[in-house]
């Protein structure tokens, strides 16, 4: 796709819109980050900028690495394992703003990665008007042995007046992408002793994860401030736990005796086939108007239908966690069959 191994064409992003799995990939990405972070324990300020990126943008960056890895570069070895994760199910946000922002970051990535940065901005200039490249950074290729030296030098340069904290973020994240070592970019006017660095890294880690939580819990993305977000999360967890209690009461009250006819099912077929088995043992006596056209579809439709019950959740789920390939089935005409919520009937004796 690109002539330059290090270049990244942001225009390719929108062609693969699977926004649902973004959250998944972000978790894998963070998995890799964690693994890399354990390598140099003294540099606790790891991936500071990287973790500040939203999951989608982090995914963009991650996607840039397989491309450059193909072109060669042991700079990407730390990420080769992660690229194997992402090769199968890479997803990109269909949100244009996110793509543009991610492309901006990726341009910096390319700028850092190889000295031939001049070609990169021209490739992506179509999408990025506001991008400022930093050719000054290209010569500071941080894959030499004197990493700490360079780190100190870069820090001084930082303090002497970089343009924006954002750029510093990008550079440090590019460093972090390539190397097992992690460098911290000291922003202007901030202390650089190890304690505050470690504190800052810790805080940024926490903030990144809090952002993930915010996306997961409905209604949290608008709130700013850790305490309020934590409030919402606590309320959410409490309400979920209460729902579980209520539902278990319901189940206990309704059925004096439950005789599950699963023995035959489990004995004959394996677990993975359960989704096709359960509907097959359903007797559609209750809902004759709902013939089982596709057993698997029906079974999995109900999960999505339940997701629709909580529309807030459904939206969040679609985007992040509860992604099912059957989301396309969400447009089925289940409204008529709203009574037939559940197609895996359990045979019961009352």
């Amino acid at each position: 796709m690109e002539p330059n191994s290090a270049s990244y064409v942001p225009g390719s992003c929108p062609t693969r819109p699977e926004p649902e799995e973004t959250g998944l990939e972000s978790f894998q990405f963070r998995d890799e980050i964690q693994r890399l972070m354990t390598v140099p324990p003294e540099n606790a300020s790891s991936f500071t900028a990287l973790l500040e990126l939203p999951a989608t943008q982090a995914m963009q960056l991650l996607h840039s690495s397989p491309h450059s890895a193909a072109g060669g570069g042991d700079e990407h070895k730390p990420y080769s394992s992660s690229s194997s994760f992402t090769n199968g199910n890479l997803t990109f946000p269909s949100n244009k703003a996110l793509i543009e922002r991610a492309a901006k970051f990726s341009v910096f990535a390319a700028a850092e990665i190889s000295p031939e940065t001049s070609s990169v901005p021209s490739n992506s200039s179509a999408n990025l008007d506001k991008v400022k490249t930093e050719p000054a950074e290209t010569d500071s290729n941080p894959d030499s042995s004197n990493k700490t030296q360079k780190l100190a030098k870069r820090k001084e340069r930082e303090k002497k007046g970089k343009d924006s904290a954002k750029k510093s973020k990008n550079e440090s994240c590019e460093d972090a992408e390539k190397l097992p070592y992690v460098h911290v970019r000291a922003r202007r006017g901030q202390a650089t002793d190890s304690h505050s660095l470690a504190e800052r890294a810790r805080r940024e880690k926490i903030n990144a994860r809090m952002k993930l939580l915010q996306e997961l819990v409905p209604g949290c993305s608008k709130i700013s401030g850790t305490a309020l977000v934590l409030d919402e999360i606590i309320n959410h967890v409490q309400s979920l736990q209460r729902q579980v209690e209520l539902l278990s009461m319901r189940l206990a009250a309704v059925n004096p005796r439950i005789d599950f006819n699963f023995d035959s099912v489990f004995a004959t077929e394996g677990g993975p086939l359960i989704d096709s088995n359960i509907p097959s043992m359903v007797s559609p006596s209750m809902w004759p108007e709902n013939p089982f056209t596709g057993n698997r579809q029906n079974f999995q439709q109900q999960w999505n239908f339940d997701a629709l019950h909580q529309p807030l959740w459904g939206r969040e789920e679609e985007n992040h966690i509860f992604i099912t390939p059957e989301n396309s089935l969400l447009s089925y005409d289940s409204s008529a069959n709203s009574a037939s919520l559940h197609s895996n009937q359990l045979k019961m004796e009352l």
């Binding site: 978790f27 926490i206 997961l216 305490a227 729902q243 579980v244 309704v254 004096p256 677990g271």
Partner: protein, 203 residues
């Protein structure tokens, strides 16, 4: 994060949970004709659901281990737990029993010592840097956050032993689990209720 592989197939997660849950319920003695009180049934249902979900995590998350450990320690639920988890989960039980309290308390103690040694140094440095108002505002905010973090720790099983970062990761996983559990249970509950109605009033 350890969550990565699991979150790939949420529908299969629900299916796995459902299967394990129902198997656990069967083992509880639900299929026999003996009658139990409502509370007992409810407890059994909830317990088997919890354990089913915890076992899907296979000991990779702290909260699942803590759930299993709590269930095994509690006398009245211990027998049920052993029944539900069944013989194939011996390793799981071993992992959950040994891990959380010992190692985490050690970690926490060392962290406290570290904090104490660091804070005196930091206080000296920062005393003249910030004004009094800013300091107090910061501390108020920190206290608020700390209060809520403690509440969250009490909510998430096994949360008291975790540091902030892993607490948030565990919360993420726990919320996903709770949602799956609620969805599955709601489906089953409505289905059983409908069928109950149907059988009571045959059309």
């Amino acid at each position: 994060m350890r969550i990565s592989a699991r979150m790939r197939h949420p529908s299969s997660l629900k299916q796995e949970f459902l299967k394990k849950w129902i198997m656990g319920l069967q083992r509880c003695g639900f299929s026999s004709k003996k009658s139990m009180s409502v509370m007992e049934r409810k407890k059994a249902i909830k317990l088997s659901a919890d354990l089913a979900m915890a076992s899907t995590r296979n000991g990779t998350t702290c909260w699942s281990r803590a759930l299993i450990a709590k269930a095994s320690r509690n006398h009245e639920s211990k027998i049920l737990a052993e029944q539900i988890l069944g013989p194939e989960s011996q390793s799981l039980k071993k992992a959950s029993s040994t891990m959380p309290p010992v190692i985490c308390s050690r970690r926490i103690r060392s962290k406290k010592i570290l904090k104490r040694s660091c804070s005196s140094h930091v206080r000296r440095v920062r005393k003249f840097a910030l004004s009094q108002k800013v300091l107090s505002a910061n501390s108020v905010a920190k206290r608020l956050v700390q209060k809520r973090t403690n509440i969250l720790k009490s909510l998430v099983p096994g949360g008291e032993y975790m540091d902030d970062i892993s607490l948030i990761e565990e919360t993420l996983d726990y919320i996903a689990y709770l949602r799956a559990q609620v969805d599955v249970m709601r489906c089953v509950a409505s289905a059983t209720e409908l069928e109950y109605e149907g059988e009571k009033n045959p059309i």
